[in-house]
């Protein structure tokens, strides 16, 4: 049993974990005891991260779809088809009609390659890394780097913690662990969130805010008694730290909140820990070039790297059906891969090298421990081959001229966050809610973790939705009833739980269920 040190592919904490390798197979994982993030522990995501690698459904050869049927093709042919398809779109519609999307489980090197192919091969800026991170131009650099940017360990050393949002125990357990350790050492912990989760239960103070309310006001308004208390505590604190998971709020309010952080930090010398969602979201932020919204009909060809927008975005499905060429690189036959003209099997995190940048900005190396199954190849190798065929100079990413900045359109895609009041509902118009997944929206986890990790599937079979008692009353719901929840392009059934831990106008569901604007009605 050999150990190969690599980085956990799930949240942005970036735990150091060892792949336990025997007979050419990853037979398990374990945390590194000396690694500054993991410190000898992992969460369930990390502990089960090896299970999808040898799943029966792993793609092991390229596929091509012709006349509705998929057939296996040799790599040579798959690459040739991809190159021809992209070139023909360029000839007919121009390079700008070629788009590239990637998930935040791609490495920094893969991001750079994608960017180079897009920019140097097609002069296209339709590059999008990570569906969550593409609208982060409003994040002040001073909150990400420099003396005010907190490291994970600053959280444990804090004497006052102001924590925004819920679900840390699930989506960033290493942060939750440090918050609770600080609490154990006597730090004051203030949680500001609409959902009273296990961490909020254990906080010194939980400020339950309605999701439609202006969260920054609870933080900055002088008149509010809660913020008065917060202000007093703030004055007494020697090492205050604010923890905020990015994209918890709609763009405008997040911008306002981050602005409030900035001015507060200036006065008090407090630190801010901005949490990115996925393993390499921060790397994506540094490397993204621009993006094209999901509804952009100008796109004629799209290369998608290990991302599955078709699973949750109806507009993407329409776009995909309309494309001249959709190429998907993935480990599994996802909804997006189902729509693809070409599916290229790619490698899992334990099967490739490269780097991830964690939420603190720590650059960490992945190490390949085993070979991918069958003919699958690391996405980086596939992209490098494409770049070669397209005649793209592979240059050092630092010396490359930057593409022109593209204004970030007000496209928030599937992460739209409109809130609608219950009162406005008509009889035949079911009420709409803002939905908060119990854990962050790691959409790209769906395929590896939620669908192809046995233990995770076994553990998270229950589909439930938590509703505030008054909302349940309005809807006529009772605990244990099955409801149909319909949203933007997807729907599912779930068992009702009624609890005051949820604010009014909010639905909380576990991880893998749809997020966005949802409607609720009773199942027939």
């Amino acid at each position: 049993m050999q150990r190969v040190l690599t980085v956990c592919p799930y949240c942005s904490c970036g735990c150091g974990l060892y792949l336990l390798v025997d007979g050419g197979d990853v037979i398990g994982v374990m945390p590194s005891a000396g690694h500054p993030v993991s410190r000898g522990s992992l969460c369930m995501k990390g502990w089960t991260s090896f299970q999808h690698l040898r799943h029966s459904e792993r793609l092991d050869s390229p596929w091509i779809r012709r006349n509705g049927t998929r057939t296996r093709v040799p790599w040579e042919q798959a690459i040739a088809h991809t190159v021809e398809g992209l070139e023909s779109v360029r000839l007919r519609h121009g390079g700008g009609a070629v788009g590239f999307w990637s998930s935040a489980r791609a490495t920094n090197e893969e991001f750079s390659l994608l960017q180079q192919i897009a920019w140097e091969g097609f002069e296209s800026t339709a590059v999008r890394f990570d569906p969550v991170i593409h609208t982060l131009d409003h994040v002040p650099a001073s909150l990400l780097e420099g003396p005010r940017a907190a490291r994970l360990d600053d959280v444990q050393g804090a004497d006052l913690l102001v924590v925004f949002g819920q679900g840390f125990l699930d989506h960033h357990p290493q942060v939750a662990s440090r918050i609770l350790k600080a609490r154990g050492q006597g730090a004051r912990v203030v949680v500001i969130s609409p959902y009273r989760d296990a961490l909020a239960e254990r906080a010194t103070l939980h400020i339950q805010v309605p999701v439609s309310d202006d969260v920054p006001s609870a933080f900055t308004n002088g008149g509010d008694w809660l913020s008065e208390r917060l202000r007093t505590w703030w004055g007494e604190a020697a090492r205050p730290v604010v923890v905020y998971p990015l994209k918890s709020l709609p763009l405008q309010r997040e911008t306002a909140l981050l602005g409030a952080f900035e001015s507060l930090m200036g006065e008090s010398g407090a630190k801010v820990l901005l949490l990115f969602p996925c393993a390499n979201s921060r790397g994506a932020l540094h490397r993204r070039a621009g993006m094209t919204g999901p509804g952009d009909r100008a796109l004629r060809a799209l290369v998608v790297v290990e991302e599955n927008p078709a699973a949750w975005d109806a507009r993407f499905r329409d776009l995909a059906r309309d494309l001249d060429l959709l190429v998907v690189l993935d480990l599994f036959l996802t909804e997006t891969a189902e729509l693809a003209h070409l599916v290229l099997p790619s490698a899992g995190f334990a099967e490739k090298g490269g780097t991830f940048t964690n939420t603190e900005g720590l650059l960490q190396a992945l190490q390949p421990a085993v070979s991918p199954p069958g003919e699958a190849r690391p996405a980086g190798a596939i992209l490098a081959e494409l770049a070669g065929r397209l005649g793209v100079r592979q240059v050092d990413s630092t010396s490359k001229p930057s593409p022109p900045p593209i204004p970030v359109a007000a496209v928030e895609g599937a992460t739209a966050t409109a809130e609608l009041a219950l009162a406005s509902r008509a009889a035949d118009d079911p009420p709409q809610f803002r939905h908060i997944p119990d854990r962050l929206r790691h959409m790209w986890l769906k395929d590896t973790l939620l669908r192809h990790t046995d233990d995770w599937q076994r553990e998270h079979q229950d589909r439930w939705v938590e509703v505030h008692p008054e909302d349940a009353n309005v809807l006529g719901l009772r605990p244990g009833w099955m409801v149909r929840i319909a949203g933007d392009g997807t729907e599912f059934q779930a068992v009702v739980r009624i609890s005051e831990r949820v604010g009014r106008g909010i639905l909380v569901t576990p991880y893998d269920l749809f997020e966005g604007l949802v409607q609720v009605e009773r199942s027939a």
Partner: protein, 368 residues
């Protein structure tokens, strides 16, 4: 029963001995990895062995019951039943420099897997393994609490190793405790000399007052009484379990945990393999029945069950010892701080009464 022979080897002669051992079997020895992590891993050069290591977070018992293993491969042909090809791991291994607590754990696992239904897979590995242990003259880590759990720091003769090494200044006392151990020493006679009275008294000095050197205390006996008598209030189980996020780290890394699950991996439905993989009791799916009924669906009950298995007297009787050797791995693995030592400390608080004052004053202190 005394060890059959007590010899001495100089520290600088160890690599030569390891090199000889490497000709006989795969030597699983302590090496230093990235981030100064100690690892008991296959040694490829005798110089890698570092006996000044602290403690490997992965217990050596995971060589007997690996995180996952192929039990057999199967193949369906022409509508016939499947052809099964079992896979046994017959690699010969010498565990070198294993800590005392882990030796006890290896023997616990051996007993567990040979007791009612002899497990061929574990049995084959046990049969092909020799154990050279390393006694601790000081707790290697602040999380160690073996002295509370009959887990170490020194093995008595007959407690499960083939050879025990005891570090003295510049040399190791070599207590040979089995015939297999004698053979391992006999392979390089020039490296060993007989121990003298001075060596033996050095050993006694090294272990005098050892109990006082541990910084973690676990109060295991009190915990056993509480759990066996079901004297832990349900509310406390629930409170403790609320802190648990069900990651499973405590069980995956526990040298005494034996639980596993079985999954099949298939290709085209015609060929495939049956895999045994580590599992743990803090998951609802661990006990969910085919009907959907789950006798232990809530974390509080799962948590209680785990500690019941580790600490209650009926299990002690069956397994021959308490279910904890005090290796301290769960103290590292649990990011939420509900590990064995923390839980036992809470049990201890249950029975602490003030010297005077009303009975309600005996309630455990809550954090401010």
């Amino acid at each position: 029963m005394a060890a059959t022979a007590v010899k001495v080897i100089q520290k600088d002669a160890l690599p030569s001995w390891v090199a000889t051992l490497m000709t006989e079997a795969v030597v699983i020895g302590p090496r230093r990895g990235p981030y100064q992590d100690a690892q008991l891993a296959p040694v490829t050069s005798a110089q890698q062995v570092d006996l000044d290591y602290t403690h490997d977070l992965l217990p050596p018992t995971r060589y007997l019951l690996p995180p996952s293993e192929v039990l057999f491969r199967f193949q369906f042909q022409n509508g016939d039943g499947p052809t099964l090809t079992p896979e046994y791991d017959e690699r010969r291994r010498i565990f070198f420099g294993v800590r005392s607590c882990d030796v006890k754990a290896l023997r616990y696992q051996e007993r567990f897997f040979q007791r009612d239904f002899p497990d061929i897979y574990v049995g084959t590995r046990v049969r092909n393994a020799a154990v050279i242990s390393l006694a601790c003259t000081a707790p290697p880590l602040p999380t160690c609490f073996c002295a509370c759990c009959d887990g170490g720091p020194l093995l008595r003769p007959g407690e499960g190793c083939d050879i025990q090494l005891i570090p003295l200044e510049g040399r190791y006392l070599v207590e040979v405790d089995s015939e297999a151990g004698e053979r391992l020493v006999a392979g390089s006679p020039e490296l060993f000399r007989e121990a003298t009275g001075a060596d033996l008294s050095k050993r006694d000095v090294a272990f005098a007052g050892m109990d006082q050197r541990f910084s973690t205390s676990a109060y295991l006996a009190r915990g056993i009484a509480k759990v066996t008598n079901d004297a832990v209030p349900a509310a406390l189980w629930e409170e403790l379990a609320e802190g648990c996020i069900g990651c499973g780290g405590c069980s995956y890394l526990c040298p005494l945990c034996t639980c596993f699950t079985v999954v099949d991996r298939t290709r085209n439905g015609k060929t495939g393999e049956r895999i045994r993989r580590w599992d743990h009791c803090l998951l609802a799916g661990f006990t969910r029945e085919a009907s959907g009924h789950n006798p232990r669906a809530e974390r509080g009950v799962q948590f209680k069950r785990r500690f019941f298995h580790k600490l209650s007297y009926p299990y002690m009787q069956r397994e021959g010892r308490p279910g904890c050797v005090g290796c301290g791995r769960c103290l590292t693995a649990c990011m939420m701080g509900v590990d064995m030592a923390a839980v036992l400390l809470r049990f201890r608080e249950l029975s602490r009464k003030p010297k005077w004052g009303p009975p309600w004053a005996a309630k455990p202190k809550t954090s401010p």
